[in-house]
């Protein structure tokens, strides 16, 4: 019952936080000068400027502007993207899908490698391999992602030329029908193996780079929580039963050590979202992050606002899901909340 109560309470809180985020985004867009500045020209007369202000509602008080903007957002009107020369709502879905495809594979890599390395290191505490992994994970946390991405590009584009830039080979991409927008899934639905290979070849390096940072975070958490679990009584009793060490770790200690790690996986999704901005720029991936960066450099407000809003929503929802899973797995959490 308590878990359900906790979930309901979290769900009720979500709209409030989302509302706060929209206020923040709107406030941000009004900090750096007039929002219609890009439409203004030097030759304009004050009357023309006023006409523009009226047209975009900038002459109204701020709260009313906010309500008008929020209403537009609710109807799916996110403004005009100067960078893409199209309405934001038309460009956004394809960009978002490209980013989700990259981030999903990246997070699989981060989780699989992180849990694997973390378990390996935790089971060999203070031995040589543990130290090697520790150095690897600490460097992973200090590594500037943009630099790591470029170093990988030098390695796999210049020195060993196997990694392509971008998301697809246009010739292959145009052969298939795009049902979902996910290149990998669409290529499978089209039963087109060469398109699938094309998708994977383009995805592999950016996803690995993106996953590497998250891997470091997950591995660190996994190691320390495994070390903690290995000191528990139930591990001793499993050993006393005569179970082989491998089985003790896999069936007993690792299962419990995974619980705190799940929170970190949720947090690392945020890391991944941020990382995708950098990775997309380096590998010329046509996703949300690269689009937003173009918008940022050209001062395209509609694009920036849409990006912040969408990212915040995705991040909040993912965090909610993680918290709920965590609450089901570890009921002590629920007792500890207010």
């Amino acid at each position: 019952m308590q878990v359900r109560e906790y979930v309901v309470r979290r769900l009720l809180k979500l709209p409030l936080v989302l509302l706060a985020v929209t206020v923040a985004v709107f406030a941000l867009s009004r900090v750096g000068g007039s929002p219609i500045a890009i439409y203004l020209e030097h030759e304009m007369s004050p009357d023309e400027v006023q006409a523009l202000e009226e047209r975009y509602g900038v002459d109204k008080p701020l709260p009313m502007q906010y309500v008008a903007w929020l209403g537009g957002v609710a109807r799916g009107d996110l403004g005009w993207s100067g960078v893409s020369v199209a309405p934001v709502s038309e460009v956004l879905p394809a960009r978002l899908v490209a980013t989700i495809e990259l981030a999903t594979l990246g997070s699989f890599i981060a989780i699989a490698l992180g849990i694997g390395l973390g378990t390996y290191a935790g089971a060999r505490r203070n031995r040589f391999s543990d130290h090697v992994i520790r150095v690897l994970t600490v460097s992973g946390a200090s590594l500037p992602l943009f630099w790591f991405a470029l170093m990988m590009l030098i390695l796999f584009y210049l020195i060993i030329p196997i990694a392509p830039l971008g998301r697809f080979d246009p010739d292959v991409y145009s052969q298939i029908t795009h049902y979902t927008g996910f290149y990998t899934i669409d290529s499978l639905l089209n039963l087109n193996p060469s398109a699938f290979v094309d998708a994977i070849v383009h995805l592999a390096l950016p996803a690995f780079v993106l996953g590497f940072e998250g891997m470091a975070v997950v591995a660190r958490m996994m190691r320390s929580s495994l070390v903690e679990e290995m000191g528990e009584d139930y591990v001793d009793s499993a050993r006393a039963k005569g179970l082989p060490e491998r089985r003790v770790i896999r069936r007993h200690a690792r299962r419990n050590a995974l619980i705190p790690t799940i929170t970190v996986i949720g947090l690392s999704w945020g890391v991944l979202l941020q990382g995708s901005v950098v990775v997309e720029n380096v590998f010329r991936w046509p996703g949300l992050g690269r689009w937003a960066t173009e918008g940022v450099i050209r001062g395209d407000r509609a694009t920036i606002m849409a990006f912040v809003l969408v990212t915040a929503v995705v991040f909040l929802v993912v965090n909610l899901v993680v918290d709920v899973i965590y609450a089901y797995l570890d009921r002590r959490v629920v007792l500890g909340t207010d």
Binding site: L150, V278, A312
Partner: protein
């Protein structure tokens, strides 16, 4: 009488000052213990070298005029590889000297780290103190604000703030400062709430000390230790963060900053000019690694539970 003696021990100014100096000494001792670990020592060595480089920059490479934080341009030597006479680490596509960027970039980073950590620490301390010490409605409101800040990934917000303020390194500093304080506010609030429960705080109330005095002399000094660790780790993190933003093109072109160097070198990589991005990024990596290793080491010593993790 026993009570009086107890109160005596805490009430005079001398006693409180002593608690402050004891804290300071304790941090010194902890650092000494921490430096016994080879990784922590390595971190400390990296930090010392980079800070020395930042301070001695004008002696190592003569400053550009009028603005030493701009790369000097040598239009007769663009895209030169490392080893070129006069340009030991090569030049950028606009003739900027990479070595100059590496050395003066340390100075840019040190300045940035001090400004950002300084601002966020002060703002975070004030807000965390109000929330923790005054409590009640203030606590509720301030912590909800902190929640909203922490609800959205930092880089995304920083990108938006810096973009809307306009591209310049100063605006990057402003953006990071706006986002950095909630972290300290949270630590300090928690620490204060914990410290408030101590008996010597009750004793100070009993002898009639003013609230502010109690806060300043009995409570604040006790929040120092975790804040020092957080600040150390932040010294590394903010430089990495700022470098990411200027890599994405949010600083002014040609600024002597490591992330900007990587950004300027990015386009050349596809045509084989690896050096600009490589050296610039390596410096960011070293800076951030140094502070992470050192900060981790200090934290391990402070919190024995995390030892060996």
């Amino acid at each position: 009488m026993a009570d009086a003696a107890h109160v005596d021990h805490v009430s005079p100014l001398g006693g409180r000052w002593q608690s402050f100096t004891t804290k300071a000494r304790r941090i010194g001792d902890l650092s000494k213990t921490a430096l016994k670990s080879p990784t922590t020592l390595a971190g400390a060595v990296i930090i010392v070298i980079l800070i020395a480089m930042a301070i001695l920059a004008p002696l190592l490479v003569e400053g550009n005029r009028p603005d030493p934080y701009q790369l000097p341009r040598d239009w007769s030597a663009i895209n030169m590889p490392p080893g070129t006479p006069g340009h030991p680490l090569g030049t950028t596509s606009e003739g900027g000297d990479v070595l100059y960027g590496v050395v003066w970039g340390a100075r840019t980073s040190l300045r940035l780290a001090f400004i950002v950590v300084g601002i966020t620490l002060v703002v975070g301390t004030v807000i965390g103190s109000i929330a923790g010490f005054v409590g009640g409605k203030w606590d509720e409101v301030l912590m909800r604000v902190v929640d909203v800040f922490l609800a959205v990934p930092e880089l995304i917000l920083a990108l938006a703030i810096a973009a809307l303020l306009g591209p310049s390194f100063r605006n990057i500093i402003i953006a990071i400062s706006i986002l950095g304080w909630p972290r300290y506010a949270r630590i300090i609030r928690g620490q204060i709430i914990h410290t408030k429960e101590n008996e010597y705080v009750d004793a100070a109330h009993v002898i009639g000390d003013s609230k502010f005095r109690i806060y300043l002399k009995d409570i604040l000094p006790n929040t120092i230790t975790p804040v020092v660790v957080a600040a150390t780790l932040q010294m590394g993190a903010v430089v990495l963060f700022a470098a990411t933003l200027s890599f994405l093109g949010l600083a002014e072109a040609g600024i002597a900053e490591w992330g900007n160097l990587v950004g300027e070198g990015q386009a050349g990589i596809v045509s084989g000019r690896w050096w600009v991005a490589t050296f610039g990024g390596l410096m960011v990596f070293l800076w951030s690694l140094g502070f992470n290793l050192f900060g981790d080491g200090v934290r391990d010593v402070l919190d024995p539970r995390t030892e060996g993790r």
